[in-house]
C-alpha cells in the first residue's frame, strides 16, 4: 500500500517541481523566482520524506530540519538585497 502512495506522491511532486522550474524560468521579477525556489526546496524535503517512508529509514531527517532554516535565510537575504538595490 505504501508503494502505491509513494508512486502517486512522487508523480505529484514531479509535476509540482516542473511547475516551480517554469516559474523560475518565466518569473517576471527576482521575488517570483525566490518564491518558486523556496517551494522547490520544500518539494525536495517532501521527496526525502517519501523516500524515508518507502525504504524505512531516517537518514535524511536532519536535512528536512535544516531545509526549513535554509529556505528562510535564502528568501530573507534576497528580499533585503532587492530593497537595497532600489534605494542605492
Amino acid at each position: 500500500m505504501i508503494e502505491i502512495a509513494v508512486w502517486i506522491g512522487g508523480v505529484m511532486l514531479a509535476l509540482a517541481s516542473i511547475a516551480c522550474l517554469w516559474r523560475v524560468f518565466k518569473g517576471p521579477s527576482i521575488l517570483d523566482r525566490v518564491l518558486a525556489l523556496d517551494v522547490m526546496l520544500l518539494i525536495i524535503s517532501s521527496a526525502l520524506c517519501l523516500d524515508m517512508a518507502l525504504n524505512r529509514h531516517t537518514d535524511y531527517l536532519l536535512f528536512t530540519v535544516v531545509a526549513c532554516t535554509l529556505g528562510f535565510i535564502g528568501s530573507v537575504t534576497v528580499s533585503r538585497f532587492v530593497s537595497d538595490q532600489r534605494n542605492a
Binding site: 505504501i2 502512495a5 502517486i8 528580499s79
Partner: protein
C-alpha cells in the same frame, strides 16, 4: 489496526504531496506576486505536517515526534517572516500589481505618514483623488 495505520500513513503521504502539487499549480496560474505567495505557503505548513505525520505513523517511531515538533515550529516561526520580507520588497520595488488590489491599507498609512512628517517615504504618496475606497477609520 495495523492495516488501518498503514492506510492512514499512505493517505497522509498522498495528501502532503498534493499540497506541493497545489502550490505548483498556483505558482503557474496566479497572476501576481501576492497571490503566488498565498499559493506557496500551502506546502510550507500543512504539507509538511501531513508528510511528517504520515512518515511517523508508517515507521511507528514515536521518538521522532520531538524532532518533527522542532522542524515544524521552525517552519511556523520563519514562514511569516520570509513572506513579510518578500511582500515588503515587492511593494517597494513596484513588483506588486497595485491595480489588482481591492484594498490597499499600506497606501493610506504611507500617505498619512508623509503628510504629517513632510518626508517622502519609500513609496511616493498617493493622490487623494484616487482614493475611492471608503475607509472606515
Amino acid at each position: 489496526m495495523d492495516t488501518f495505520l498503514e492506510a492512514l500513513a499512505a493517505l497522509l503521504l498522498v495528501l502532503g504531496s498534493l499540497m506541493s502539487l497545489i502550490a505548483g499549480i498556483g505558482l503557474i496560474t496566479f497572476p501576481d506576486l501576492l497571490s503566488r505567495m498565498h499559493a506557496a505557503t500551502k506546502p510550507q505548513v500543512l504539507g509538511f505536517l501531513l508528510l511528517f505525520a504520515g512518515l511517523i505513523i508508517h515507521l511507528r517511531s514515536w521518538g521522532l515526534i520531538p524532532v518533527f515538533a522542532l522542524a515544524w515550529g521552525l517552519q511556523l516561526l520563519t514562514a511569516p517572516v520570509s513572506a513579510h520580507m518578500i511582500g515588503r520588497a515587492g511593494y517597494r520595488t513596484k513588483h506588486v500589481a497595485k491595480e489588482t488590489l481591492h484594498v490597499d491599507e499600506l497606501k493610506q498609512v504611507i500617505s498619512n505618514h508623509s503628510q504629517t512628517t513632510g518626508t517622502t517615504a519609500a513609496v511616493p504618496p498617493a493622490k487623494p483623488a484616487q482614493n475611492d475606497e471608503p475607509e472606515s477609520t
